[in-house]
């Protein structure tokens, strides 16, 4: 029967001759291809030690920013959670008490701020929605882990570390 596509190839299965049957030329041919690759440029890199340059708009792990006085910028307005298409962000707000003015910038702050990294699709809408410039996806890749609960990142992992500006400038001037 004629094939519908007319692209059918009929292969003839001939019995192998003597040279083919001893296999040695085929092995030599294969090994020579392998040997050739020893002298070629290696296209891969050793990833964790060596890192390729990233795109400028690469979006990695979120970080909650501090202002120039080291206070948390986030005011728990909920716009990131509202804009999140994956519904990965949850937060609980709390009122700033007297004496905490150096910790939080606004009178309201997020006492709990959690991002479920398994749900997050790194679209960056939270970054765009934030009216306080408090969240940026400027971190590294989110690393693999064993347990589901370890992918729910709380404030301990998200808030950027406090930098002592005075100490930093002293170190630079030294």
């Amino acid at each position: 029967m004629q094939s519908l596509s007319n692209r059918k190839k009929v292969l003839e299965q001939k019995p192998m001759n003597f040279w083919e049957r001893i296999y040695l030329p085929a092995i030599a041919k294969g090994l020579s291809i392998t040997l050739k690759h020893f002298f070629k440029k290696i296209p891969t890199i050793k990833y964790p030690e060596q890192i390729r340059p990233y795109s400028k708009n690469f979006r990695g792990q979120h970080s909650l920013k501090r202002d120039e006085e080291g206070r948390e910028r986030c005011t728990a307005c909920g716009l990131c959670a509202l804009s999140c298409p994956a519904e990965a962000i949850t937060m609980t707000a709390a009122e700033r008490q007297k004496g905490e003015e150096d910790l939080y910038r606004e009178e309201k702050y997020a006492s709990v701020y959690e991002i479920n990294m398994l749900r997050c699709i790194f679209c960056g809408l939270c970054e765009e929605a934030c009216p306080k410039e408090a969240i940026y996806l400027d971190g590294p890749h989110v690393t693999a882990d064993y347990l589901r609960k370890d992918f729910i990142y709380g404030k301990d992992k998200l808030v950027e570390p406090k930098i002592d500006l005075v100490q930093l400038t002293q170190q630079k001037s030294l």
């Binding site: 005011t75 728990a76 307005c77 959670a81 707000a93 306080k132 347990l147 589901r148 609960k149």
Partner: protein, 338 residues
């Protein structure tokens, strides 16, 4: 002989409507409904004498009446101007009105702080809507805004004078619903501020309604303060047998918890029935209420975002032992992974 009912025919943005004499232009427009209704920050149909303060409802009267067809010389406040027979009114069809309204919004926002991310009213704030629809995108005001310390009025109501736009609605509520008014406007002109007499607590039974009538976040529910954002809660209509008020309310659910109780608001943001303080502050259990149905929220409202048309899972999640037992093995497996 039965007197024939007199009806005045008024045309608003080209749409004719027959209304009773004495109706204001704003109410005539509300009878038509839709986009041509002028926004109102101070007028409240359930409060007598309200209106005429904020000037956001300005409209142009291009024909005074059938008898005197001269146009009115200036833009008029539609909440305070009654209709005449044959009157022709322009609202959104007049560029003059749109421009004037933009200016009024700019004036209202002069002293209004930009703290919507902190404010509990955000999401159901009339000034937010107004600024979004009619306002300019930048402020031209270069001077400092007037600021006040926030005041606790009683243990249930919080006053943020910074956010107040001086609509006087709360004053009318106290005058007309409660026995004794204990707060009012102090000082004059741009120094005016809402205050209580020597910070006296407001503890009249219906005083909680000042929260509902406040178009901005100046008077907010202290029991709901920073609990959650409005748009993460789900409004559900409910009622209870209340001896002092109608008991018809909206419950704002987050999961199985009632975070807040408010009056039922119509499309113009006005409550249908004023509710008493017991309903508002003290009964925050589902068992206190007979739940009716999810509140119909405007499709474009932020309150409607991320909400499913039919609550699934249902708005109030009940623990089901039969279901838990059937899924015991599955649960144990997932618990291990948690």
């Amino acid at each position: 002989m039965a007197e024939e009912e007199v009806k005045f025919r008024v045309t608003i943005d080209g749409i004719p409507v027959d209304v009773a004499p004495g109706t204001s232009i704003l109410n005539a427009a509300r009878q038509i409904g839709g986009d041509i209704v002028p926004p109102a920050m101070c007028y409240y149909s359930k409060l007598e004498d309200s209106g005429g303060k904020c000037r956001t409802c300005l409209v142009k009267v291009s024909k005074g009446s059938e008898k005197d067809p001269r146009p009115m010389p200036k833009l008029v406040a539609s909440c305070r101007t009654t209709v005449m027979d044959g009157m022709e009114v322009q609202n959104i069809t007049s560029p003059e009105v749109v421009d004037a309204r933009k200016g009024v919004v700019e004036f209202l926002l002069i002293n209004h702080p930009l703290d919507c991310p902190v404010c509990d009213q955000a999401g159901e704030c009339k000034l937010q809507d107004l600024g979004y629809e009619h306002g300019a995108d930048q402020t031209r005001y270069e001077f400092g805004r007037r600021t006040f310390e926030r005041i606790d009025i009683g243990d249930k109501i919080q006053l943020h004078m910074n956010r107040c736009i001086l609509c006087y609605r709360c004053v009318y509520v106290a005058n007309q619903l409660t026995n004794k008014r204990e707060h009012g406007i102090m000082y004059r002109g741009d120094h005016s501020e809402i205050s209580t007499y020597i910070e006296e607590a407001l503890d009249n039974d219906f005083i909680g309604n000042v929260i509902d009538v406040c178009p901005v976040g100046a008077l907010t529910d202290k029991t709901f303060r920073f609990k959650n954002r409005v748009w993460f809660t789900k409004p559900v209509d409910a009622h209870r047998d209340c001896p002092s008020c109608s008991g018809k309310v909206t419950l704002w659910y987050k999961g199985a918890d009632v975070l807040r109780v408010t009056g039922r608001k119509d499309e113009f943001g006005e409550v249908e029935d004023f509710i008493c303080n017991t309903c508002r502050f003290e009964t925050k259990q589902t068992s206190d209420w007979i739940v009716e149905e999810p509140t119909q929220v405007d499709k474009e409202s932020v309150i409607n975002s991320n909400h499913y048309y039919n609550f699934n899972p249902p708005a109030v999640i009940k623990e089901n032992p039969a279901l838990q037992e059937a899924n015991a093995e599955q649960l144990a497996r997932t618990e291990k992974l948690k």
